[in-house]
């Protein structure tokens, strides 16, 4: 059935949505043209997720939607009504260490392997790495490189990023 009302929501009426963001349920009113990225950064102060190109080309805005990595800049918040969103701020709370303040293993591995310089792309790289491991398709080093090609790093930390992912994937991370 059509959402709430028919005829459709007029352009000036905010639309109520519910998102679970980093484990916290949020009831929100959003204009339909608000991207998920702008909602996170501008409304919810979750500024860990970065706006790089804002066109789906750099991957700095990568977040997990229901465990799947996507570009938050190319998603309308209203279309994600009901979804679970995980941003870099929520990675530490994922998995077995839930509730502790410990970093996610991939975050520890990035530190261990010096997998960043300026850090701007890092939140996207981290979320993309977790998404890659959730998917479970990339195994070899070449496959990891290919599956991470949607995340650009202008400092050129790629080699160490792949090291960090391999480390966690093969259970080597502390």
């Amino acid at each position: 059935m059509l959402l709430e009302q028919s005829p459709p929501v007029s352009a000036d009426t905010p639309i109520p949505i519910t998102l679970t963001i980093n484990g916290q349920r949020r009831e929100l009113q959003v204009a339909p043209w608000t991207t998920l990225l702008d909602l996170l950064r501008e409304r919810l102060d979750l500024t860990g997720t970065k706006k790089g190109c804002d066109h789906g080309q750099c991957g700095a805005c990568t977040v997990l939607v229901d465990g799947t990595r996507v570009n938050a800049c190319l998603a309308l918040a209203v279309m994600k009504d009901g979804a679970e969103i995980t941003t870099v701020e929520g990675l530490a709370g994922l998995g077995e260490r839930k509730g502790s303040n410990a970093l996610h293993p991939i975050q520890e591995a990035f530190i261990e392997h010096d997998a960043f310089q300026c850090g701007y792309c890092t939140p996207g790289q981290l979320c993309s790495s977790v998404g890659l491991m959730n998917e479970g398709h990339a195994k070899s080093r070449d496959e990891i490189r290919e599956a991470m090609s949607g995340n650009l790093c202008r400092c050129g930390a790629y080699t160490n990023i792949v090291d960090a992912i391999e480390d966690v994937m093969h259970g080597g991370a502390r």
């Binding site: 007029s10 339909p32 991207t35 991957g59 799947t68 996507v70 190319l74 090609s149």
Partner: protein
């Protein structure tokens, strides 16, 4: 981005009913939202179709029916697709990034717009964006543009990888619209620009893609998807080729070839395919087919290199298919 009305449809009928002038259907949004940010698309109403029950991949008539809302990732990683239609799998995985493939839909992939620089720049004329305004790509920056089937009005290319494989597989597009349902053979789904480059496809207003049907014949033994581009991943094709062969010993029984990055639609030349049939799968015969295809090429001022690139890609792609050694997705060396 302009302001717009938002409608969330629960059924195909509701989605079709909600359509009107200035409306756009939205699924993955990876292309449409981008175009809206550039003011290339300014819909008055967005009809969200992501809740429609079209996400499945089902057995049908010996083939597979891909729901229009099955994501590119879901199709590529489906075991049946991997085993029976590896050419399609490889084509999908050669395109975009993991993030985009996780969001982008099957139907949306068919409907994505060209990446012509001028089409994307609302500050320049473009016959596809503003009919009658002109085509600055002709005589302009046209390294990435078409060498086949272009017109004096538009030299844009279709950007999809997936569609190149679907053309070679002779998929059928099922659509639903104000006048009911119909089937469109893949070759008739996308258009050449002619004098109406604003129309990419033969869809009528308000029609929605509901599925893409794959016929039984999948060329799973002898296939390749070979994509040549400016960087090794996450770039559009300068030239790509989907090749599928059926062999009887050394003799070609069936040949399918589709090219990407070279025309306003996935480019096929059935006469060249017919040249291969009944003959040995040799380099000389592949060369003859390639020569036949590129004989029709009409390059622009900056993309003459595509003619030779296409010729060599065709020969190499057919060799890969015949040998049963498809192009690797992660090792980009071309063997």
């Amino acid at each position: 981005m302009n302001r717009f009305e938002y409608v969330r449809a629960g059924t195909v009928a509701e989605a079709v009913q909600a359509f009107g002038a200035g409306a756009r259907f939205i699924a993955g949004g990876t292309n449409l939202i981008d175009l809206m940010k550039y003011d290339v698309e300014k819909p008055g109403r967005l009809i969200d179709i992501t809740r429609l029950p079209l996400t499945g991949i089902e057995e049908r008539d010996g083939g597979l029916r891909l729901g229009a809302l099955a994501t590119n990732a879901k199709v590529a990683y489906d075991d049946r697709v991997a085993q029976r239609y590896p050419m399609l799998r490889n084509a999908i995985l050669a395109g975009a990034s993991a993030q985009l493939r996780n969001a982008a839909s099957t139907g949306g992939n068919l409907l994505q717009r060209t990446r012509c620089y001028y089409f994307y720049d609302a500050g320049t004329p473009c016959n596809k964006r503003e009919p009658g305004s002109g085509c600055p790509a002709i005589g302009g920056v046209n390294r990435i543009h078409a060498i086949f089937g272009a017109s004096e009005h538009c030299i844009a290319t279709h950007p999809s990888d997936m569609c190149v494989a679907l053309a070679a597989l002779e998929a059928v597009v099922q659509v639903s619209g104000p006048d009911g349902e119909r089937s469109i053979p893949f070759a008739a789904f996308h258009r050449l620009p002619g004098d109406a480059p604003e129309r990419d496809t033969t869809l009528k207003p308000g029609e929605i893609v509901v599925s893409v049907d794959l016929p039984e014949r999948g060329f799973a033994q002898h296939y390749t998807y070979l994509k040549l581009r400016d960087r090794l991943s996450y770039a559009f094709a300068l030239v790509s080729i989907a090749a599928g062969l059926e062999l009887d010993g050394d003799t070609v029984k069936t040949a399918r070839l589709a090219l990407g990055g070279v025309a306003h639609k996935p480019w096929r030349n059935v006469e060249a395919e017919a040249l291969l049939v009944g003959k040995p799968a040799t380099r000389d015969n592949f060369q003859a087919a390639a020569d036949r295809i590129v004989a029709e090429a009409k390059p622009q001022s900056e993309n003459g290199f595509k003619v030779e690139l296409a010729r060599r890609a065709i020969v190499r792609g057919l060799e890969q298919a015949a040998a049963g050694t498809p192009q690797s997705l992660s090792d980009k060396r071309i063997q």
